[in-house]
Amino acid sequence: MASYRKKMLAVAAAASMSVALAACGGGSDNGSKSPGGSSDSAKGGTLYYYIFAALEHTDPQRTYVGRDITNWSRTVYRSLVTFPISDDAKVSTTPVPDLATDTGQSSNGAKTWKFTVKDGVKWEDGKPITCEDFKYGASRVFATDIITGGPNYIITYLDIPEDPKTHLPIYTGPYQSSPEGKAAFDKAITCDGNTITYNFKKPWADFPLAVASLHMMDPYRADKDQGDKSNYQIFSNGPYKLEGTWDKQKGGTLVRNPNYDPSTDSTDIRKALPDKITFDIGKTAEQITDQMIADSGQDKFAVTERRVPAAYYSQITGDIAKRAVTVTSPYTDYVVPNFKRMTNLQVRQALAASTDDTGWVTAGGGEKAYEESHDIVNPAVKGYQSDLFPAGAGDPEKSKQLLQQAGVQMPYPITFTYPSTATADKQAAALKAGWEKGGFKVTLNGVANQDAYYTDIQKPDQKADVIWAGWGADWPSAITVTAPLFDSRPNLTKNSNGQDYGAYDSDEFNALVDQAQNATDLDQQTQFLQQADQVLAKDVAYIPVDNAIFYFLHGSGVKNYMNTAASNGFPDLGPVGVK
């Protein structure tokens, strides 16, 4: 999941090893309980949203954090299609029309997608949103030296020739590109009145899911574009607009957009109840939790993206507990065997058999922090399989038998590398205990320099036998999980393992990924991906250890509070209102 920076931030900031800040994609509301949410559709009031760290971007094409994607989707940035509000994860991960009249028409084996932009949809200055605005928005993604940090899948899909020297598309964005590049782009995305057509070089069966999950395909007005200088500009086409400017360190306030026409939208997507939404940046999780517990003044009308710290669990009782919500986040943690060192399948199977998932979760803070995981694919993501890994406390006896069958030295020495924090050290110790019961001799290698963690584990010559990592889907399809993590072809190079940290290299798996990528419909694609995931499980290419749990508090004056798969597990601003 998430850009490299998100991973770094997550690892650096974590009191645990979950990728708490990491970006985007599918979420889950499995087990979500939101007793604070009642049905109250009254408009008015100000909602406060407490955020810890400064947003890196508010530019739609650069936004890549799950929280921000969902917040902007519900308030200022509408897309061709989006996800509706629903407690049901299946419903809230199924795209519905937003600025487009339908969820898109595919042809040419899912290589061509057509959408028609609705009539009457406007920007905040009253000008109509046109097909050209969508085309311009997509073009910005190609300016990878200016529009950095955002999702860029469109670059690899859009039918534009590559420059043999740079191995990048010959089109380099709207700011400077060769005439050939521009012509190729104009051919790849065409506008016919209000109808926009995307031509891809390979099938993109789940394109609407990608459009609904990310803002990379959002419209952008060319006359408002100042490249990097537009990073904190919000030019709205949704029910709210930014009042004044966005202060990176303090946040900003959204007020009603007079040029928003609710008849072009649906209350299944945006109820737009509060008159104002104020984003307040900079408070720590402890400070936010203190204020939420006190529940006075504006805090009554506040929601947050900060999880309740473990030290506060004992205070969340009585009436306060009624304002607490636990929700399965879209983020999954896993460990990978290093295939360059742990070459024997039975040894890897022994490792999986003796993995004490229960101990890991307990050491991490228990059910309010983590749940045991059965698949690297998150439960809310299409392609999830609940029977791939048994989880639980492990089976040491089975592990020993497997090691004996493998004929290896016992105890079998292994080194486990992970980013060291106080909580992570405890979790690693729990894993170590389980593995040692199963016949391994474990050396823990907690990496103190967490900023360098992912750089470290990408090194092809690393000495670790088992490596921790975290991930979450960019959109609710397994194609954004197993393929980027285990397809050796884009990952393994002379200088780096990329995101295939264990250097896993399987022709069988890669072939199934190819079949999935060439699938022309989503069900067919999912079928191939599930088979591919089974290959990974058979080879023990990874062992899932947890799905991170979001444990949030909100103010007593917040109504219709929900955390949905559509909102990546964060507070969903679509239905929310204040007293």
């Binding site: 890196e56 990878t144 030296d145 950095t148 740079t166 400077q176 904190y232 360098a452 750089t455 980027p484």
Partner: protein
């Protein structure tokens, strides 16, 4: 004296140049690739190279430093790519001299970022300074005048306790109880005098100022007490008392004057240190000053801001040293020829 001052300023500039060079070298010696850090997910090696070029990190370190130095002297335009500046002039950000660089993280020139941060750190430092000087010196004098009494022991003991507690603990304690739980103060949120008037500016500075002041105050209570007691045992004060001067005059005109002189030097240096930002206090109270900027920029490998901060904070120290050196030269002419 003029030659001496010029020499010291020249040495200071050399030090700043050396500091900027060392910072550049250390930054690029780090195992972190800032381009990878800035690049999005699924960023291929080719895309990363393009991002590196966009950030200007593709050039040799010495060339980057040279460009930086030219920017300080003459100003610079961003982005670096000349053809891009030509094809899309609306993307260009001009950074006037002395340009300390352009932060792609903050999407602003480093100097403009400093302009918003310096008032916060300065306000905090000044509030803390007033509190600790008034409190520390006042209580120190009271302790000295009541030497051996319960008041004396109590003040010295309490000051030791505050000295022992770490700043983050005191800050969180004050925030949690005085602001959030009991509501005696608003939850601090920096408001400039221009935005909220003097009262709001001051009220919001009390808790963070007090957090810093309690730490410094503890030291100043003990130092003031010691200096006052030392002065009170001097012969000239015995003479003053023998002459029948009133106690108040002896205290304020003779004792305090002599006792507080070393404290003024100490206070000046402490204040200079605080002007560069109080990292923990700014973090606890979410004050966007120079200290918080330092932490944030290091966390996200924001080279231009890191270099700018090193130079700014280094300048504070160097200027303070030069001032002290010059003052010494006035006091002791031997320094001028040394």
């Amino acid at each position: 004296m003029f030659a001496y001052t010029v020499r010291r300023v020249f040495v200071g500039i050399i030090m700043l140049i050396a500091m900027s060079m060392v910072t550049f070298v250390l930054f690029f010696a780090s195992p972190i690739d800032p381009a990878q850090f800035a690049c999005g997910k699924n960023c291929s090696l080719e895309q990363r190279a393009q991002v590196r070029k966009g950030l200007g990190y593709d050039k040799p370190v010495w060339e980057q430093w040279k460009n930086f130095a030219v920017g300080v002297a003459k100003g610079r335009d961003y982005p670096e790519d000349k053809s891009l500046r030509k094809s899309a002039p609306n993307l260009v950000a001009h950074c006037a001299a002395p340009c300390l660089g352009y932060s792609n993280v903050n999407i602003a020139t480093v100097t403009s970022e400093f302009k918003t941060r310096i008032p916060v750190s300065f306000s905090l430092a000044i509030m803390a300074f007033i509190l600790w000087i008034v409190g520390g010196v006042g209580l120190g004098v009271i302790a000295a005048l009541t030497k051996g009494s319960i008041i004396d022991r109590g003040l010295v003991g309490i000051s030791l306790i505050f000295f022992a507690f770490p700043t983050f603990f005191v800050g969180l304690f004050l925030l949690k109880f005085l602001a959030i739980k009991w509501g005696f103060f608003p939850v601090p949120n920096y408001i400039s005098i221009a935005d909220g008037g003097v009262w709001n500016w001051m009220v919001n500075l009390v808790l963070p100022g007090l957090t810093l002041a309690l730490f410094y105050m503890a030291g100043y209570v003990r130092m003031s007490r010691a200096f006052v007691l030392e002065s009170m045992s001097e012969d000239y004060l015995r003479t003053a008392r023998a002459k029948g001067l009133p106690g108040r005059k002896i205290l304020f005109k003779h004792t305090m004057r002599a006792a507080l002189t070393p404290l003024v030097t100490m206070a000046g240096l402490d204040l200079a240190g605080l002007l560069g930002g109080a990292i923990i206090t700014e973090r606890v109270f979410n004050y966007n000053g120079l200290g918080k900027l330092a932490v944030d920029s290091i966390t996200v490998y924001d080279l231009p801001t890191i270099v700018g901060l090193v130079l700014l904070l280094g300048s504070f120290v160097i200027v303070a040293n030069i001032v002290v050196d010059i003052l010494y030269a006035f006091i002791d002419p031997r320094v001028r020829v040394g």
